[in-house]
């Protein structure tokens, strides 16, 4: 049980980040997250691959597709959540200084809105890359496509995001708004 707890905790943030940005609905994301882990627990004995993260993403990918197919109206990123506050606020989770937090939250809101507007497959590639740090070969396998197609989807996603976040992109590139959470794998 402790091993399972450690496993769930290790992948909790990136996996939930992927799911909630794909479903764009926190309540639904909770259900999908639970569904993914219940399936993983049932099939853990059959797990043979070394890449556990990729395996979990494959389960999450299938679960999200099932949900999308069952869904009817699209959920807006600014739609009020049951617990109060907008989805963007719920996803923020930042505890920085006031003005910086506001600016940062605005940037975060804009990034989330821009990503939410990406076509499904492009959004999925972008999130698999940025949240789970999967290689394009693994992403292509999960999506059931070629690595060239996965790369192309990523390029289209980046181009759209650059257009949508033109000002922010310039600032980011110029270094005037550095990332506040430096990561080892900053490259996309």
């Amino acid at each position: 049980m402790e091993a399972l707890d450690a496993l769930v905790e290790r992948y909790r943030a990136p996996l939930f980040g992927f799911i909630v940005n794909m479903t764009r609905n926190p309540g639904e994301a909770d259900e999908v997250f639970q569904e993914v882990w219940l399936k993983a627990i049932r099939k853990l004995g059959m797990f043979r691959n070394r890449n556990l993260g990729g395996w979990l993403m494959r389960i999450a990918h299938n679960a999200v597709i099932d949900r999308v197919r069952r869904r009817k109206p699209e959920v807006s990123l600014d739609q009020e959540h049951d617990g109060g506050g907008s989805l963007a606020d719920i996803l923020a989770g930042s505890d920085r200084g006031a003005s910086e937090a506001v600016a940062d939250r605005d940037l975060g809101r804009r990034i989330r809105a821009a990503v939410a507007d990406l076509p499904h497959h492009q959004r999925e590639v972008f999130l698999m890359r940025t949240q789970m740090d999967l290689a394009f070969k693994e992403i292509a396998r999960i999506q059931g496509t070629s690595i060239n197609t996965a790369l192309a989807r990523m390029q289209y996603a980046l181009n759209k995001l650059r257009e949508r976040l033109a000002t922010d992109y310039t600032e980011l590139t110029a270094g005037s708004r550095p990332a506040t959470a430096p990561t080892c794998a900053g490259a996309v």
């Binding site: 399972l4 943030a13 940005n21 997250f33 999130l127 890359r129 290689a135 394009f136 070969k137």
Partner: protein, 193 residues
């Protein structure tokens, strides 16, 4: 190298999927192409910002509790042995070893052992004769007949005993004693040494 190709290689280099000469070519192109250098920098910063701002603090605690409860139920409901694949392999190996052992034990004895057993029977009969018993053992004729039959089955009927192809050890132990073939023998005492 075209810039379109360089853009894809920049993405592959970020995951470590671009190696060797491909990486060298990309670096060489970047040295002379400011546009692609800017592209690489923009991709890096956008990825970092996305990684931070798309991260979500979730799910709800009740979800984590439900996952744990399901795992515990599965763990107590049946034998959940993390090392099951290893144990299963060992079980198969043990079963195979058992089968092989049983199979070996069912194999017929080597010929020399069987002939040795026949010789022992003959000796027993002979000792019985030498003991001066007033009466033959009730099953002596049966024993003799059995011994003869066994010899015939082993291809060592009386004539064969003294042929060159016969087992030398047996030949030494069983000198000619006037053994008669089954077809022509009459029940009677024979001497086996």
């Amino acid at each position: 190298m075209k810039c379109e190709t360089a853009e894809r290689d920049i993405l592959l280099a970020g995951t470590g999927e671009l190696r060797g000469s491909g990486r060298d070519e990309l670096e060489s192109h970047l040295e002379s192409c400011p546009r692609c250098r800017q592209y690489r920098q923009g991709v890096f910063h956008l990825g970092t910002a996305a990684r931070e701002h798309l991260r979500a603090e979730g799910p709800d605690r009740s979800v984590l509790a439900a996952i744990r409860a399901a795992a515990e139920e599965r763990h107590t409901g049946r034998v959940f042995f993390p090392g099951w694949p290893v144990a299963r392999t060992l079980a198969y190996a043990a079963a195979l070893a058992l089968l092989v052992g049983v199979g070996v034990s069912l194999l017929p004895e080597p010929r020399t052992d069987r002939i040795g057993a026949i010789h022992d029977i003959m000796v027993m009969v002979s000792e019985e004769e030498d003991s001066g018993a007033e009466r033959e053992a009730p099953d002596e004729p049966t024993l003799r007949a059995l011994a003869d039959q066994l010899l015939i089955m082993e291809g060592l009927a009386e004539d064969d005993l003294f042929e060159e192809s016969a087992i030398p050890a047996l030949r030494e132990e069983l000198p000619s004693t006037g053994l008669r073939s089954r077809s022509s023998s009459a029940p009677g005492r024979r001497r086996y040494v």
